[in-house]
Amino acid sequence: MTPTPRPPAGLVAPPSRLLETILDDVWGVGLDFLADLLGVEMLASPFMQRAYLAAVCVAVIGPVVGSFLVHREMAMIGDTLAHSAFAGVAAGLFVNAAFGTTVPPLATALVVAAIAALLVQALVDHTGAYRDTSLAIVLTGSFAAGSVLVTATDGGIAVGINAYLFGSLATVSRANVGVLLATSAVVTVVVAAAYRPLLYVTFDAVGARAAGLAVGRYNRLLAVLTAIVVVAAMQIMGVILVAALLVIPVATTTAVTGFKRALVAAVAAGQFATVTGVTLSYLYDVAAGGTVVLVAIAGYAAVTLAAGVRRRLTTSRR
């Protein structure tokens, strides 16, 4: 009898070992060092280290995808897909409660949000419905489905749903950080690869079609990327507020000249909002999602005000 061959460690371990390397050896050690240097204990807690890593990830992918949405005046698609992701979470929790399965709610959220993304795009393409009308239908429809599913059980799942509605740092487990890192990498790579088609479609959709581009395909790609970002960021931001991450950092930096530079600046604005927001949320024990959004809006207001003052100064000097 031959011993059962064990799978070579290298084949199974990479994802978890990669996560270990990134989360513990690089990120953890770096923040520990920073904690020592600055004397800030918060940075050394593993819980906050995970929260900060999640904050950095969502503030990269949110503005990266949002830059293309905002400039096609589709800012509200993020909100729509977030609400359909909520329906997906509710569906997952419902299935688990009803059949005793252990489907991760984030997986069902991703599936439902991606389907909703394609549905919205199909509505826009084929029915000629106005964009905001089709968005409103899908948004309210999926939230309605979610609320019905939540109340269809004994109420046990209604407790868990709060974390998804408003977001919570407590839900950022090691596994969730791993998933978030992987999705962030995928979204960033896909946007980098499809940057030119996405930019052309965003700037001049008719011109892109004349240039031989399959515009519909890139519209669907952008919609699905949005769904992925929304589901990834939903854990800390919450369903209701997650769309802010796609929109506010981009709005803050539209004054930067050059699309690529504005996109990078939007990521920086997003980092400021999420890192500051997560810190304040921890220090004052308030909701993370809401704090991040308020910081982002404060940043937007400050930048807009500063631009206005500068414009007034330059005109009065003349």
Binding site: G207, A210, A211, F259
Partner: protein, 246 residues
């Protein structure tokens, strides 16, 4: 006879409302076709049919010898949409970024090489926007924006330039300079399809005129057009032609 564009019996409608009916016309390489007609006469739709953005309900359009709707050699067509003078104000793209888009059909995914960068620089120089390459497109005047879109087409080394009322919202002086530029580009061999509401401009600069009001009322050279009643018939009333002299 086959040309750059070859339309045969083209009919197109939205729902049950016919917009273009039984139009046949051929545009030879190197032509400068001015497309005129009253508002709502189907000019934009015809232009979109000719460059393959729409598929005719009946009839056929061939673009560079291929069915237009299936034509995917995007870099051969430069398209200047109707509302460039006013659209996309908020988007932070620069002039250089827009002109680089002209190279995208050659390089949707691969890196730009030296030839691409040279083509972009040449295009910026050719239409005289190199000095504003780093400005935001939204901060330019209508006339400057038009030039940028032409540069985008030139960067792609397009063989056919399609423009839909390109000088709406552009001041008179810039318009004149813009048509001079189109004229020069046409002399250098670029085929041009131009929709223009100012018939005087078209009869001055175009080498041939197509007059449309759902059906094609006239297709021929500008001098003959001025002498016929096609214009009055298409517009359904008296219409004077101002022929600009230079």
């Amino acid at each position: 006879m086959t040309g750059v564009v070859d339309a045969r019996g083209v009919t197109f409608g939205y729902a049950d409302r016919p917009v273009v009916e039984n139009v046949s016309l051929t545009v030879a390489a190197g032509a400068f076709l001015g497309l005129v007609g009253p508002n709502g006469s189907g000019k934009t739709t015809l232009l979109e049919l000719l460059i393959g953005l729409r598929r005719p309900d009946e009839g056929s359009v061939r673009l560079f010898g291929e069915p237009a709707h299936a034509f995917d050699d995007g870099e051969r067509i430069g398209y200047v949409p109707q509302d460039v003078a006013t659209a996309n104000d908020e988007m932070p793209v620069t002039v250089a970024e827009v002109v680089r888009m002209g190279r995208y059909p050659h390089r949707w995914f691969r890196r730009f090489d030296d030839a691409d960068r040279r083509a972009v620089q040449r295009a910026l120089d050719r239409v005289g926007v190199a000095d504003i390459a780093d400005r935001r497109i939204g901060h330019l005047s209508g006339g400057q924006r038009q030039r940028v879109f032409i540069a985008r087409a030139l960067a792609g080394e397009a063989d056919l330039l399609a423009l839909d009322e390109p000088t709406v919202g552009v001041d008179a002086e810039s318009r004149e300079a813009f048509y001079e530029l189109l004229h020069e580009l046409n002399d250098e061999g670029l085929t041009i399809l131009l929709i223009e509401h100012d018939i005087g401009v078209v009869t001055t600069h175009a080498s041939e005129i197509a007059c449309l009001n759902r059906e094609l009322f006239f297709h021929g050279d500008p001098d003959a057009f001025v002498e016929t009643d096609a214009l009055a018939e298409a517009y359904g009333g008296a219409q004077g032609v101002v022929h600009h002299e230079h």
